[in-house]
Symmetry: C2
Subunit: 212 residues, 2 copies
DNA sequence: CCCATGATTGACTGACGAGTCAGTCGACGC
DNA sequence: GCGTCGACTGACTCGTCAGTCAATCATGGG
């Protein structure tokens, strides 16, 4: 369970994610976070430098985990390119169903928003894109991905498509409550996005359902 | 050129788009807009109800134009599904090159951001998605688009992919300064995204370069 | 039992910036 | 010339938080 200090910290971050998702970062007051977490106003400043730092921590700590998994997928030698990309899409769709508020905060308050333009967050985002680009570029070398498209652009297309689905879900335009919803969504996303990127060779031997 | 009043209004909106793109909506003060437009602070309030109303006008007026073109594309009886979707992608990529600041503001400050969750903007966005969905659904009826994927989800995938490319450009990760850049980008986007959605039949007779 | 250390509290302050408004200026009709 | 009307000005007001800090409480060690 970690030290009681670490628990308090988590408790505050959890509350912050909730209220950020509900009202947006700018409209939530620090007092809202404190109220939701059941702690005094001032305590927030015992654990965090500023309101911005709270949002930053939400992002940094979760994005690091995401990046780690992303790199594991990239380096999995037993997976083909299509499977790797499908795994990423599935990872994100699962995350969406399990922790929608967190995904919403990351999408709405960080990837988007003026804050975006700020320094180290861009770098963190780019790193994820870079990993996807590397998977795609490797796939091109293996003849599994269309060779004459820019892997950077494809990486953006891939991420963007998945992100849009997340947004659609958050807007309640795309249902994804149940396992079945999620499975169907994964199938549509992987089939549509991947079959546009993979060559015929790249589509062989994929698990049924991934493409086709 | 319109009445001098209308010109003043445009002048303020133009300045607003510029500073919103540079600093983000929340970080720009009304005085920044006034300074950039070369008018007095108070004049902003002669033409607009509030700072929010300025952003709202930026969106409303430009989105209406976009929607109009979108519907024309949908209703063009001389175009096949693939061509229609390609036309939309090309429209957006051109807009990106011609008015990057405007696109940035629409993406960052409206489609994203907490503001999003607010009332009539969602509806406006959904309307665009709906038009794309209608194009796709019609394509499915014609046998030009994969029949067993949800047209809504595909519409989101399509838009999201294009939007991500715009974001990549704004981040300077994807170059799109010259005509050649734009042409290459259009080709990659249409080829990748469309070939994932279209059936073999739907890919026949497309202009070379669109898919393939 | 007492003190020290650090978590915890919440009333308070100070800055910032949206929106107001009393007044100026220039054009135009009479 | 003179008055009116509306564009235009920018100093000021006023609410809203982010962030501070002095005081309190819980603990564990001596």
């Amino acid at each position: 369970m970690g030290s009681p200090e670490a628990e308090r910290r988590k408790q505050i971050l959890k509350a912050a994610v909730e209220v950020f998702a509900e009202r947006g970062f700018h409209r939530t007051r620090v007092s809202d976070i404190a109220k939701r977490a059941g702690v005094a106003y001032g305590l927030i400043y015992h654990y965090f430098e500023s309101k911005d730092a709270v949002l930053s921590s939400v992002f940094d700590e979760n994005w690091a985990v995401f990046l780690k998994v992303l790199k594991e997928i990239r380096d999995a030698s037993d997976k083909r390119t299509g499977e790797k990309l499908a795994a990423i899409a599935e990872l994100l769709i699962d995350a969406l169903r399990v922790t929608p508020a967190l995904i919403q905060v990351i999408i709405q308050e960080i990837s988007r928003s003026d804050r975006f333009i700020e320094a180290p967050k861009i770098e963190a985002f780019q790193e994820a894109f870079r990993v996807v680009k590397e998977i795609i570029a490797e796939g091109q070398r293996q003849g599994e991905v269309e060779a004459d498209s820019d892997p950077w652009v494809m990486a953006y297309l891939f991420f963007g498509a998945v992100e849009a689905v997340c947004t659609g879900f958050l807007l309640e335009a795309i249902p994804c409550r149940t396992e079945e919803d999620a499975a169907r969504l994964k199938r549509t996303v992987t089939r549509t996005v991947l079959s546009g990127m993979l060559t015929a060779a790249g589509q062989e031997k994929l698990k049924p359902g991934h493409v086709g």
